[in-house]
């Protein structure tokens, strides 16, 4: 059995294949890693409203159907807003990728367990009607699957198994919330 990825290693592998996507990052350590490792104007980092990253991503996709959209989500976040999975599947945005970093815990509140170890979130996504669903646990599989997702119609759901955080988390997001809104709006304004 191979060792699971750290959050940092997972995010390092996830970001490059999504460089053409508008990226909505769930609150907590995920946003902080994404910001530290691959910030760009088309990235939106949540600092609150846990659970809603996937809804925000769907809102962008509905408003701009030609724009590729990715959501970097966590297991606690998905469990908090499960209704979003059938919403996304029913709306069926073609260029939508939902990546869930599943570390099995609420990391930023002290690694209390979620129930994701006992329920396969990707199976809920599949039952909801996502067009493509995979579970992976290493960097090369992330790269391979995100390339396959890009070549097919979405929505796609990629669950990445990771270890709970043990080292220092990434630094806090350096932008104010209103700065993040302004730059994302600016970045999307020129796109269809």
């Amino acid at each position: 059995m191979t060792t699971k990825l750290t959050t940092e290693a997972a995010v390092r592998a996830i970001l490059p294949p999504l460089s053409g996507h508008a990226l909505v990052c769930a609150n907590g350590f995920l946003s902080r890693w994404a910001c530290a490792l691959g910030d760009r104007p088309e990235c939106f980092y949540m600092i609150g409203s846990m659970g809603l990253a996937s809804s925000i991503g769907l809102g962008i996709a509905l408003a701009k159907p030609e724009q590729p959209v990715a959501v970097l989500d966590g297991d606690g976040n998905v469990l908090m807003n499960l209704g979003s999975l059938p919403m996304i599947a029913v709306a069926a945005p073609r260029r939508f990728v939902h990546v869930v970093v599943d570390n099995g815990v609420y990391a930023s509140t002290g690694n209390q367990p979620t129930i994701s170890g006992r329920v396969a979130l990707e199976e809920i996504a599949a039952a909801s009607g996502y067009r493509r669903v995979e579970r992976v646990r290493d960097a090369s599989a992330i790269e391979r699957e995100l390339a396959a997702f890009a070549a097919a119609d979405g929505p796609g759901f990629l669950l990445v198994e990771t270890e709970p955080e043990s080292g220092a988390p990434a630094p806090r997001i350096p932008f104010t919330p209103e700065e993040m809104t302004a730059r994302m709006r600016g970045a999307l304004a020129s796109r269809r």
Binding site: S49, S55, L58, G59, G83, S84, L188
Partner: protein, 168 residues
Amino acid sequence: MSAPSSNARFAGADFAASLRAAGFDFFTGVPCSLIASVLRALEADGYVPETREDAALGLAAGAALAGKRPVVLMQNSGFGVSLNALGSLQQIYEMPCLLVITWRGQGGTDAPEHLVMGRVMPTILDAYQIPWRTLGERELDADVAWARERFDETGRPVALVVPPGVFA
């Protein structure tokens, strides 16, 4: 506050048309019987039915990032569900949206489950510093124009509250 009228004063389709004419262009929410005719008119034109009111605010946030002027329609029971999203998403990120919230429990005469929220909703709206007006006491266009002005001026949520009897 005027007592609920037993005769509907406005057509839901007229309100939907007024919202469109004022530049609102993304509609989502969770239904309430008091605005059934409004929803019927919007459903014919791209309304996105959501599963929860906070998720509808998530959709509205994404739509706002993509340049839309969103409207989220809900019953006031769902206003309770939406408070964390309003506080930690729309308000702090300065994402405007128009909330159309029905007022079940207004005046203390309704089913038991609506009485607490019916009583405290105005206080909560004020505490959240959400500008709001009761719909139907003026012409619809005047209320919609007022909402659009607050939407542009504050860059944050603004609410039109709909008591019983406004719409057929």
